[in-house]
């Protein structure tokens, strides 16, 4: 994902001399192609995220489009007030890019797990929030935010995530179909969409009709799309590598809150306290511990269906 991001940004910068990239001394083996091609528009600010966000606002308020890049919580939580006041209050054209979504940094430990960032960034006024599931969506989202003129947050994983649908989305602001199916509808944000596809295949083998959508745009959230899909479904499921509060589940539940016929929504995400792990583990191990393995997701859905039919 991160290599797709920098390749996409390099394409954009080749055609748009106003695009700058700042990093907080992170991005080794990722950002070098951009730095080599556009040295006058690339700055390693140093390990100083507040300064990076403020500088980005100052450059953007001078008519530029500025991407800032770092790991997990560093370009978001560490400089949150700069993003609120300097960037969002002024509508400055700054794009925050965080690599290492959710448990992507696995055994590096809790400080490197980004589990609340989507909720917190979504609270900022006027910002758009993207959590792509695969390299195809990363490319589409990078192109979209580079041209949007708005503050944006792009949350990407690390490297090696598979392409889940080779057809580029027409509009990355809308949920993207990954698997046809109407009765049980799964919404995923981020690379967990791959686990959702596996879970859906497993459920289908047991005779279930399961659809899967990737919701890469968390803000603005496409409430109408969710409502339209819900009309033909008997169960909705959200899956996210993030706490439930303020993320995909909250947005789906809110979209459906006013509907006359409300079907159950199963929210599958990182438990708030469970996320505070002090045990080393790969992403896969941590996902399993959080109830986000393919088996756990499948089991949660089966249990919800059993409860529903009881």
């Amino acid at each position: 994902m991160r290599n797709t991001f920098i390749a996409s940004l390099s394409e954009i910068a080749a055609n748009n001399p106003n695009v700058w990239l700042l990093c907080g001394d992170l991005g080794y083996s990722v950002l070098e192609p951009f730095a080599a091609k556009f040295p006058e528009r690339y700055i390693n600010v140093g390990v100083a995220e507040q300064n990076m966000a403020g500088i980005a606002a100052g450059i953007a308020l001078s008519g530029k489009t500025v991407f800032i890049y770092s790991i997990g919580n560093f370009p978001t939580l560490r400089c949150l007030e700069q993003l609120r006041n300097d960037v969002c209050y002024h509508g400055a054209d700054v794009k925050v890019v965080a690599v290492g979504a959710g448990y992507a940094y696995g055994s590096q430990g809790y400080t490197h797990h980004a589990l609340e960032d989507v909720a917190i960034m979504s609270m900022l006024p006027g910002i758009e929030v993207f959590v792509p599931c695969d390299p195809i969506e990363v490319r589409a989202a990078t192109h979209l935010i580079a041209a949007s003129g708005k503050p944006s947050y792009l949350r990407i994983s690390r490297a090696g995530e598979p392409v889940l649908n080779a057809t580029p989305p027409d509009n990355v602001r809308r949920p993207r179909l990954l698997r046809e199916g109407q009765d049980i509808v799964m919404f995923a944000s981020g690379p967990l969409a791959a686990q959702c596809l596996e879970a859906a295949a497993s459920l289908a083998q047991r005779g279930r009709d399961v659809g899967v959508f990737s919701v890469s745009c968390l803000k603005p959230f496409d409430d109408d799309f969710i409502r339209a899909v819900a009309r033909n479904a008997s169960l909705m499921v959200t899956v996210e590598e993030h706490v439930l509060r303020g993320g995909l589940f909250s947005s789906v539940a809110t979209a459906l809150a006013g509907e006359p016929r409300r079907m159950p929504v199963v929210g599958i995400g990182v438990p708030e306290m469970g996320g505070k792990t002090s045990i080393a583990g790969s992403r896969e191990a941590l996902l399993k511990a959080a109830g986000l393995s393919v088996e756990a997701i499948t089991d949660r859905i089966e249990r919800a269906l059993a409860k529903d039919s009881a």
Binding site: E40, R41, I43, V45, G46, A48, Q50, N51, M52, A53, G54, I55, A56, A57, G58, I59, A60, L61, S62, G63, K64, V66, E81, Q82, N85, D86, Y89, H90
Partner: protein, 272 residues
């Protein structure tokens, strides 16, 4: 506007002090002490230094001014009004319901580059503006006015470290060093000394001047860059509440608003 027909800085400072006193009195607002300490700095900037056209102030090649000590906003609004960005009469709406003139600096006000209020934000923004200006090659400069108290903020020191490394000689940081911060003197709360030496050690070209000496301010602010390849820091030694004897060097005037009688006495002292 040529320099010869710009307003006189001394008279400009006197007028903006009077406006700020009236504004803070009418709004029952705070922060008059920090407004009065920076009056002469603003007067020199807006009468002699800043290349900005009030009639068309968003020209890309303009100089940028960022007031990082955003609580001292009354006197900035007063300076912008006196300089012709909007009618002086608008100042009467300061802090009133529905007014754009909020109690911390607002970019809704013509001539204001950025909203501030939370301390430690202005310098990094000004650095970004200086970088963009250098890239554009139009010769514009970025000036940032900080309080002494906000030099407690780590974000400022991130910026202070960054600017010399990147040889930003079109950047000027001015510290309104009035020695009193929110809850005590700077010496008591978190001592900055040796202050100028810290900036020098970080690689800035530093000038220490009397922040109420118009000629000294003019000379220091006119020499940009004073040293090619280095940003300029001007440590302006000032007096909190300057110009009103009963406000000078008194912590309470970070908070208090003058009574009717005190306003009359204050205006008389500054000759308004």
């Amino acid at each position: 506007m040529t320099r010869s027909n710009l307003p006189d800085a001394v008279e400009f400072a006197r007028r903006i002090r009077a406006h700020a006193l009236r504004m803070v009195h009418a709004a029952k607002a705070s922060h008059i002490g920090g407004c009065l300490s920076m009056a002469d700095i603003l007067a020199v900037l807006y009468t002699r230094i800043l290349r900005v056209d009030p009639a068309d102030w968003r020209q890309p090649s303009r100089d940028r001014f960022v007031l990082s000590k955003g609580h001292a906003t009354a006197i900035l609004y007063a300076a912008l009004a006196e300089r012709g960005f909007f009618p002086v009469d608008d100042l009467k709406t300061y802090c009133c319901d529905g007014s754009i003139f909020t109690g911390h600096v607002s970019h809704a006000v013509p001539g204001v580059e950025v909203s501030t209020g939370s301390l430690g934000h202005g310098l990094p923004i000004a650095i970004g503006m200086a970088l963009a200006a250098r890239s554009a090659g139009a010769g514009s400069r970025a000036f940032c006015l900080l309080s002494d108290g906000e030099c407690d903020e780590g974000s400022n020191w991130e910026g202070i470290l960054f600017a010399p490394h990147h040889k930003l000689d079109n950047l000027v940081a001015i510290v309104d060093f009035n020695k009193i911060q929110s809850f005590g003197t700077v010496a008591e709360v978190l001592n900055l000394d040796p202050f100028a030496e810290k900036w020098r050690a970080f690689g800035w070209h530093v000038q220490e001047i009397d922040g109420h000496d118009i000629a000294a301010l003019d000379q220091a602010l006119s020499e940009v860059p004073a040293m090619p390849g280095r940003p300029t820091a001007i440590i302006a030694h000032t007096v909190k509440g300057k110009g009103v004897s009963f406000m000078e060097n008194k912590l309470e005037w970070h908070y208090r608003s003058p009574s009717d009688e005190q306003l009359v006495a204050a205006l008389a002292e500054i000759g308004a």
